[in-house]
Amino acid sequence: MPSGWPKYYALHGRDEGREMNLSEFFAMGGYGFYVWGSYGVTALCLIVEVVLLMRRKRTLLQRLGRMSRVTSTEVKNEIQT
């Protein structure tokens, strides 16, 4: 365990009270796939939703900005180039 890492104790079985190392922590007592599969997909979903919303807002502002400028001459120049 890196220093400063919270102490994580095995609270069941033979080694009760012993400090766990990092690989034991990730193994989650043999349930690593299920536990990290749950937490990982949840984190991914939340992050992707935020990223998609930020992109939606950005493209929306660009599109609306373009629409509102369509009458001005500077945009006509932009389109021609």
């Binding site: 069941h12 007592g29 299920y34 949840t42 939703e49 919303l53 502002l61």
Partner: protein
């Protein structure tokens, strides 16, 4: 004389747009401030379960996600109903802003449940009353969003999808009480109003922290989405042109 606050002021999309923009960072920060201790309690403070070992740690996101899937549906149906009765634009926009996040939490409740069910029950999925009614909830969300998207005229779309949302409310008590009404494989509630939490304090704290984190996240994301909805639907309004002006400087 006390100054009277006009609460209806913020029911107009024009007034709500900047207010929502100011609220988003606060809820985003709050979500993070609940997530960090929530994860700490979930992995480092809460002890392993005496029956399920470490696998039960899925509970700290599974239960809050399932709660959110039901709460968001109720709030969404409430807004949709308000839009139906009062014909207020912002309410139906709020309803459609909540739907995708609600659907996501429903999916996450099913996904994490499946990953919990496999090692504990030996099956990814069973046609148990709790699981089936939660799956129906996912279809209700998808139905609400598709119906809304399928009708071109926004007011008609809002009305039709509001009716669907309100009819679907009947499914919420079915989900909630399914573990009592039927003999399900899904375990009963660990927290009930009559008995309180039947688990260790640290487990309960972890679950409440994660639930708060999901709440704050949901509010932040729903506000982000409602701002997009407002801009899309009001794009021809004078005030939107005002909002867009500073962005021209970029």
């Amino acid at each position: 004389m006390a100054k009277k606050i006009n609460w209806f002021k913020y029911s107009s999309p024009q007034a709500f747009y900047p207010l929502a923009g100011k609220m988003i960072p606060w809820f985003a920060v709050a979500a993070l401030l609940f997530t960090l201790p929530g994860l700490y309690f979930s992995f480092f403070v809460a002890p392993a379960d005496y029956q399920q070992g470490e696998a039960y740690r899925i509970m700290f996101i599974h239960v809050p996600a399932a709660w959110m899937s039901m709460f968001i549906y109720m709030v969404m149906a409430g807004y949709a109903g308000m839009g139906l009765v009062l014909n207020s634009r912002l309410s139906s926009m709020m309803a459609s802003a909540l739907a995708p996040t609600g659907a996501m939490f429903t999916f996450l409740a099913l996904w994490t449940g499946s990953l919990w069910g496999k090692p504990m029950w030996g099956a990814w999925w069973v046609w148990d009353a709790r699981l089936t009614s939660e799956l129906i909830l996912l279809f209700l969300y998808i139905g609400f969003m598709s119906l809304y998207a399928a009708i071109d005229e926004p007011r008609r779309a809002a009305r039709a999808s509001a009716v669907l949302a309100l009819v679907g409310v009947v499914n919420i008590p079915i989900i909630y009480f399914s573990v009592k009404w039927w003999n399900t494989l899904h375990q009963g509630s660990s927290i009930t109003a009559s008995k309180g939490p039947t688990m260790e304090a640290s487990m309960f704290i972890a679950m409440i922290l994660m639930a708060m984190a999901f709440w704050m996240y949901t509010i932040a994301v729903a506000l982000m989405r409602v701002r997009c909805e407002i801009l899309e639907r009001e794009r021809h309004a004078e005030w939107v042109a005002e909002v867009l002006r500073p962005s021209r400087a970029r």
